[in-house]
């Protein structure tokens, strides 16, 4: 292959890099300036007095220079079906990313990118052994250049597919041979988008619970009169009531501020949230100031989880998360597919993206045998605490007994919510933390399965099933607790068999 053309990033990279480093260094800088800058007094030579400003200036200049160097030295090009990146002044770093390994390209448009029509491109690969960063990051390139990467990738894929045919070889295991006809019809179908109304509901209900609680606290403090304070000294009583009110209002205002901030942030980051389907990729775009575009290959999706928050459910809304094998830890592996969607419509949308997924409600429920285990374990810590409270604060400590029915009710609620269902090669598990979670997982995506039984479980014939699914670098656990041991063993058997004789072939066909 001849010498490849090498591409550079846009010059704005230098400024973005500089600002990024500065953002990280801003705190020590501020401390430095405050510690030195405002000492006042006229002692010492002039340069000593302005030391912090000098340091500050030097730092900015050096950051700017290093930003420029980074930009100058950064090159990328395509060669031998690889994306090659070279960077660094003294230590030259070369990174070659084979096209086959590239899982997705994620685009972000920040405020600096917008005026110049640029994007930041993150190259996500399968392994991703480094937790902190995407494998390759092109800080700022023009949209045309971003398009070129895509074309280059697509061409490489096509070359790879054609090759075996030209050579006349039969490649049974050719990864995605069935995709070829599909590829002819280039189509990006829009599946789902969030209206402004939905967006507002999402923004206002996210993290709203703290505000509600502190509102309740204020409300309660007004009723402090009803609590018998007579036995206390008049002044202390007044002070406590006053104090409670002040603290409650302060907390409320603080939380309100945080909440408004989070509403604003959610609004900005989820503005114009759209999910579309492009052949075998899900594409999620969102954001007002910073436009983000995330691509998730369908093949990499491990599990689909329907989350029903009780507060949002009142308004008929649920959310859907997907767990993907790509990406790093936390955020990037747990993708909000639909942050907020009408309960009645979610199945339509999901079945459009995952036609092979069986989306019915799980119908098999654990019997009442397991019910006591949902709250029994809580008594272990509860009884000593309640005992101590009653002992030390005698009459009022008795109020702590009120927690028992709450815990029991919560346990019964969890028990009622739990359910599972096995459909062919798919396991559906439903469990409640506070929100109700329903995990839809194909058998081939389950990494391992565990059945747990304590001594008490064994006596009553109850067991807990835990399923591990890969999620980014880590794992996601779905569980159905305290079910009948026969059912639990049935699930284990289902998981165990399948992979034996003929079904292995069936499974292979489904995968490929």
């Amino acid at each position: 292959m001849s010498e490849q053309q090498r591409y550079k990033l846009h010059w704005i990279t230098a400024i973005i890099e500089m600002l990024k480093t500065m953002k990280e260094a801003i705190l020590p800088l501020v401390v430095l300036v405050f510690a030195n800058g405002w000492k006042g007094g006229g002692t010492g030579p002039w340069y000593f007095e302005y030391l912090s400003f000098i340091i500050f200036g030097v730092l900015i200049i050096s950051l700017f220079v290093s930003g420029i160097i980074k930009w100058k030295r950064f090159e990328y090009w395509f060669e031998d079906d690889e994306l090659r990146i070279e960077s660094g002044l003294f230590v030259k770093k070369k990174r070659y990313i084979p096209f086959d390994r590239i899982q997705s390209l994620d685009y972000t448009e920040g405020i600096f990118h917008r005026p110049f029509g640029l994007v930041k491109v993150k190259v996500e690969t399968a392994g991703g052994s480094s937790m902190k960063k995407a494998e390759g990051e092109l800080t700022a390139i023009t949209k045309v250049a971003a398009e070129r990467i895509k074309i280059e990738l697509a061409e490489a894929k096509k070359r790879k597919k054609e090759k075996p045919v030209v050579e006349g070889e039969v490649t049974l295991l050719a990864d995605d041979s069935w995709e070829v006809p599909v590829e002819e019809t280039v189509s990006v179908r829009k599946i789902f988008s969030m209206s402004t109304k939905d967006l507002l509901i999402l923004a206002t209900t996210s993290g709203g619970i703290g505000v509600i609680l502190s509102g309740v606290a204020i409300f309660m403090s007004q009723f402090a009169d009803l609590i018998p304070f007579e036995w206390m000294y008049e002044e202390i009583s007044a002070f406590i009531k006053f104090g409670v009110l002040i603290v409650a209002i302060a907390v409320f205002l603080g939380l309100l501020g945080v909440w408004i901030l989070s509403v604003g942030m959610t609004f900005l980051s989820h503005y114009n949230f759209t999910v579309s389907l492009d052949k075998e990729d899900i594409i999620i775009t969102r954001g007002l100031l910073e436009k983000k575009r995330v691509t998730v290959p369908l093949k990499r999706i491990q599990s689909v989880v329907l989350i029903e928050n009780p507060f949002r459910k009142v308004f008929g809304y649920v959310s859907v998360k997907i767990h993907s094998a790509g990406g790093g830890v936390g955020e990037s592996s747990r993708i909000n597919l639909f942050p907020l969607v009408k309960r009645s419509e979610v199945e339509t949308y999901l079945s459009e993206i995952f036609p092979e997924l069986y989306l019915e409600e799980p119908s098999k429920k654990p019997t009442s045998k397991g019910r006591p285990y949902y709250y029994r374990i809580d008594f272990v810590w509860m009884l000593p605490v309640i005992g101590a409270l009653i002992y030390f604060f005698f009459p009022y400590g008795l109020f702590s007994l009120a927690i028992i029915p709450v815990i029991v009710a919560y346990g019964i609620w969890q028990h009622r919510s739990a359910a599972y269902e096995i459909v062919d090669h798919q396991l559906i598990m439903r469990f409640r933390t506070f929100s109700l979670q329903t995990a839809y997982t194909m058998k081939k995506r389950i990494q391992s399965m565990e059945m747990k039984q304590s001594y008490f479980h064994r006596r009553k014939g109850v067991a807990t099933i835990l399923v591990n699914v890969k999620s980014g670098m880590g794992s996601y656990q779905a569980t159905v607790q305290h079910m009948d041991v026969e059912d639990a063993e049935m699930i284990l058997d289902w998981y165990e068999k399948g992979k034996k004789t003929s079904e292995v072939i069936v499974d292979k066909e489904i995968i490929n």
Partner: protein, 159 residues
């Protein structure tokens, strides 16, 4: 009822766990003796010695005798052609099923105590989880590692 996995781990493993228990107990004993000395110099009440002794005896019994025994009795594993099954746990018995196709790699490792007894532990990693069989005879661990990696290689699959 599902039958239990077939293989137990080496009897020497029990010895190693007892040794671990002994080491932990010795550390606690040193702390207890420190406490005793302190009590002596501060002229604390006599029952502190009694509490310390009883506490130490109970912990020693649990860590050296009971827990290793229950743990050893419970620990079972079986490597079949298409999956690995493990069973372990003292209070809560966990049975884990790992299909061969999900196995990504297998490691054996060995600390100084395990080496002295000619044992090794074997870790089986899937894409999401890591499962460890502690204390296998070294030759057996190596053989198992080889076998799992061969079996796992047969069934290639995408994650």
């Amino acid at each position: 009822m599902r039958s239990q996995p077939a293989n137990r781990i080496s009897k020497k493993g029990l010895k190693v766990w007892r040794l671990y228990g002994l080491i932990q107990t010795i550390i606690l004993a040193v702390l207890a003796i420190g406490g005793g000395v302190l009590t002596y110099f501060l002229e604390g009440p006599w029952w502190i010695y009694a509490v310390e002794t009883v506490f130490l005896l109970i912990i020693g019994y649990l860590l050296i005798i009971l827990f290793p025994k229950v743990r050893w009795m419970r620990w079972r594993y079986e490597v079949r052609d298409s999956e690995i099954e493990l069973q372990h746990g003292i209070f809560i018995v966990k049975r884990t099923l790992i299909p061969m196709v999900r196995v990504q790699h297998v490691d054996t490792s060995q600390g100084p105590i395990l080496r002295k007894y000619g044992l090794a532990e074997i870790s089986i990693s899937t894409a999401a989880t890591v499962h460890t069989i502690p204390a296998l005879i070294m030759a057996e661990a190596d053989e198992l590692r080889g076998r799992i990696s061969v079996l796992a290689r047969v069934a290639e699959d995408d994650v």
